[in-house]
């Protein structure tokens, strides 16, 4: 379905991102953002012509557009912003918009888990390290950020690689897909009612659930929990092991003493010369 349109959109988006990339001297960042927004909007309008009549169910699609615009725009700011702390804060916005998309997809538990774990824990760790490891900037308002934040490394090559991949991904994404019946999980009606009726009685103080409880009436968190603990117990244990190992590994890495002769930097050599 119209792969040429997808290719043209990929090329235009690559140009837009190239204009937005941080570099020395004049950078037409605003023009690039405008071009990118126009490309995305044009692609969506072209795709909307193929959408069938949704019979008044436009609300999810509207929320999809809204959250997608926020997510993509913030992602562009994450990779082009010159100040790392603000990059991390834009990333929080990406996480929140992605969580909104999850709610549109009726995956509420995962949405809240993303907000709590990503925005609440992981990004906070990043902000901590950025603040600990940023070179002293007495006046961070002006453009005195370090050179490695002001100029991108090989932006043309990176963007060419990335958007070649985007063109391929989009071509695949808009192939007409048919739901594979074997991929429809057994966690639907039958297995779900089996799981619900096989619960130990002490876990269901409200009495045994009615047999044949509709799968649609089961909460999203209940379905995910059943799938996680019934279907992937080994993965759950391994996830715990990985978390423990990374916790110990991080502590061991940070506590390692640094040999003083290894600390070579222009600043240190200057001190030594004096």
């Amino acid at each position: 379905m119209m792969p040429y349109g997808l290719y043209i959109a990929s090329v235009l988006a690559a140009l837009a991102l190239y204009m937005t990339a941080p570099r020395r001297g004049y950078s037409p960042a605003r023009l690039g953002m405008l071009l990118g927004a126009m490309t995305l909007g044009g692609l969506w309008i072209a795709l909307a012509k193929h959408l069938p009549d949704l019979a008044g169910q436009w609300t999810p699609l509207v929320y999809y557009y809204l959250f997608s615009v926020i997510a993509i725009g913030s992602a562009v700011r994450v990779i082009t912003h010159r100040r790392p702390v603000l990059s991390a804060l834009w990333f929080v916005l990406v996480v929140l918009a992605t969580a909104g998309l999850f709610v549109v997809l009726s995956a509420t538990f995962v949405a809240f888990a993303m907000v709590i774990i990503y925005a609440g824990a992981i990004v906070v760790t990043y902000v901590f390290v950025i603040m600990l490891a940023s070179p002293a900037a007495p006046d961070a308002v002006g453009d005195d950020s370090p050179t490695y934040d002001r100029a991108a490394r090989e932006p043309a090559a990176a963007i060419a690689v990335g958007f070649l991949m985007l063109a391929v991904l989009l071509t695949v994404a808009f192939e007409p897909l048919v739901a594979n019946p074997r991929a429809a999980g057994p966690s639907d009606q039958r297995v779900l009612s089996r799981d619900l009726t096989q619960r130990p009685p002490e876990l269901t103080p409200e009495g045994p659930p009615e047999v044949g409880k509709q799968a649609a009436s089961v909460d999203n968190i209940e379905r995910v929990g059943l799938d996680l603990f019934r279907g992937h117990p080994l993965g759950l244990e391994l996830a715990g092991v990985i978390l423990t190992v990374s916790l110990i590994g991080a502590v061991v890495l940070v506590r390692r003493p640094i040999a003083p002769e290894a600390a070579e930097s222009p600043r240190d050599t200057d001190v030594r010369d004096e």
Partner: protein
Amino acid sequence: MNSSADSLILGHFLLTSSVLFVLGLVGFLMRRNLIIMFLCTELMFQGVVLALVAFARFHHNDTGQTFVIFVLTIAAAEAALALALVMLLYRRKPTLDTSAWSQMKG
């Protein structure tokens, strides 16, 4: 349920997820700040996670959402280890520039 309409809606979500993934990839290749490079891997995780949930919805299979929890676990472990490594490098040489460590090239 109209299958082609479902497929097109799925395609829209895959569009967003692949754009997020590609932006993370470009950022990882393009930026020179170590911490921002790791932040870009998190951006790629966002794209992957969105594709997982969209496919889970399309196939009516909750395993996609379960997998997101594992991705979250790996992301947390990766963030802890990567940021510990960044702190270690920063204590040896007070810069976050990746090209400052180019002597590690083979």
